[in-house]
Symmetry: C2
Subunit: 338 residues, 2 copies
């Protein structure tokens, strides 16, 4: 097994080192070929490593960074004001080739802005996309993009997203000839706004893309498509609406327990099951969203990720390195655009 | 109580007369001042009235129509090809003033197209909107619009939707100074696409509109706003994504019952409660969406509505007649735009 190096922004997320360091320790213990570069505050990192009773240093390297991007900071201002942030440094290690990928649970907007600035996009890609794998009615996953990286999308950008999503589904999930669909308000050809219609035209003519047409919002999870493409505005709102709806139902179950004895019993039985299911299907909890379209691999862990979830994000990054996702996107784009 | 006349497209929906006629009978039995004009196939209407053992004719009038708009028909072609459809006739009765409102469970696109063609929009309104009241974490409802009437919206149209939603919340739900928000990818002022930002600017300057800024997808149901405004593309997809997510969770609960004895027990207890809650909160089941912005009242019942749901849609129409919603929208627009 060849060595694999991943840079971690250990200061990002709602919890920072108390979550990211234990996850890093677990990751290197589980993967002997994994080398992690921990970017962040040396003192805090040391303290967490001591707490985890971890002494071996071959697999872990620390790069002290004097700055931290906070969760509510404005993306653009972090570019100017935080050149030594743990986030920026982790991205720079990917740019210089010292790391094969980078993982951060930090401020999404800032990560996008910094990643775009440091790594640049692949040739043929205008803007990066944020993509996540979600569950479906079957055992297959569905890749939904864009989740909010780019709120002003034209049909050319939707087309590029479709190509990137297709490569990710093929390389990371091993899907053969993944079914690619555009998210729309109806399945008929005449439906939708102009941007979506033009993107459909581009996709139906693209070689090597299994474009199956439109799917509606209720079919995101129904295993009709392996890749569902939307502009970042719609994708973000659709995903978050599901999150809000899940919370609404949980609240209803809780308040139902104030009714009769029998309803209380039903609610008591339902709640743990529902919570377990939501932890698996709640898009907000589903971790390891990828920034696609950059000249390097960047994985975004959810801000409130716990140790397991951050570890999962590291594994997503490892898989993308292993499968050389950016190279394959580049290659696919050359075929499709030739 | 003054007489109130509502035209019903009794042929619309997945079931047609077997659902719409019993609902009509119940409606007139419950409301002595209600007069219903049943538009549709005379033979089928007569058969259903006989089945319901309903003989009183003062409150029910039948207008025989030779055509029916099917659920999958292309909206534009119904304008040319179905001049004698039950849907078109019901709308025409509103236009001539013979009816105060119209209710249909038919093809949404066709209803929008025919309503726009027959009734026209109010002065100051470019396009009608489809709006529905949804549940929130609290006892208050939230009005979400547009649900798909208009997929290409500029900021001017979003502004008009906000005004219409505000009037509906005030008049139909009796909300005082309803909180109006734009659906966006973040709550900060700098977030969103240009259309949303420009609409926010217009709304923040409008007198008589309690504009509270942006809400994200996860806050649609959280009672942060009374009226949530989106373009028809985003609104439709957000609502349907929730519907798909609800189905995903129900499926997961069902399949969980194949696991251990205890999980099976939990699932068995959870399922009826979940179904009950979903029937209340599932946006797809939530009935009585209104077409706002027209020179007349049109209420859309869900295609697969059963008797109770269609009856509910009739009640929504009655309430809007009672509150003279179109007049009040017109009046509010005059104030806001003056």
């Amino acid at each position: 097994m060849s060595k694999l190096t991943i840079a971690l922004d250990v200061m990002g997320g709602d919890y920072g080192p108390p979550v990211t360091i234990p996850a890093a320790v677990l990751a290197v213990q589980q993967c002997p070929n994994l080398h992690l570069i921990l970017c962040g505050d040396q003192t805090q990192i040391d303290a967490q490593l001591r707490k985890a009773k971890f002494t071996q240093t071959d697999q872990l390297e620390i790069i002290h960074c004097s700055q931290v991007v906070t969760m509510d900071e404005k993306p653009a201002s972090t570019l100017r004001k935080k050149p030594d942030s743990s986030m920026r440094r982790a991205l720079e290690l990917v740019e210089t080739g010292e790391a094969d990928a980078c993982v951060s649970a930090g401020n999404t907007g800032a990560l996008l802005t910094n990643a775009y600035y440091v790594l640049k996009t692949l040739a043929g890609i205008n803007r990066p996309a944020l993509v996540s794998a979600l569950p479906t009615f079957s055992d297959r996953k569905v890749f939904l993009l864009d989740l909010g990286a780019n709120v002003n999308c034209d049909s050319e950008i939707l087309f590029q997203y479709a190509v990137m999503g297709s490569v990710l589904a093929e390389q990371v999930e091993g899907m053969v000839n993944p079914r690619v669909a555009l998210l729309n308000v109806g399945e008929e050809q005449i439906k939708g706004n102009d941007t979506v219609k033009n993107a459909a035209q581009l996709l139906s003519e693209a070689p090597g893309i299994n474009f199956i047409g439109y799917v509606e919002g209720n079919d995101i999870f129904s295993d009709k498509a392996d890749v569902v493409v939307a502009d970042g505005f719609t994708g973000n709102i659709a995903l978050k609406a599901c999150e809000g709806f899940a919370t609404l139902v949980l609240n209803e179950v809780k308040s139902a327990s104030a009714e009769s004895f029998f309803t209380r019993l039903m609610a008591k039985m339902a709640l743990p099951l529902l919570k377990r299911i939501y932890s698996r299907v709640n898009p907000d909890q589903y971790n390891g969203a990828s920034l696609l379209g950059l000249r390097g691999i960047v994985v975004k862990s959810h801000g409130n990720a716990q140790v397991d979830a951050f570890l999962y994000a590291i594994r997503v990054a490892m898989r993308e390195v292993d499968q050389q996702v950016p190279n394959k996107i580049k290659h696919k784009l050359e075929i499709v655009l030739s």
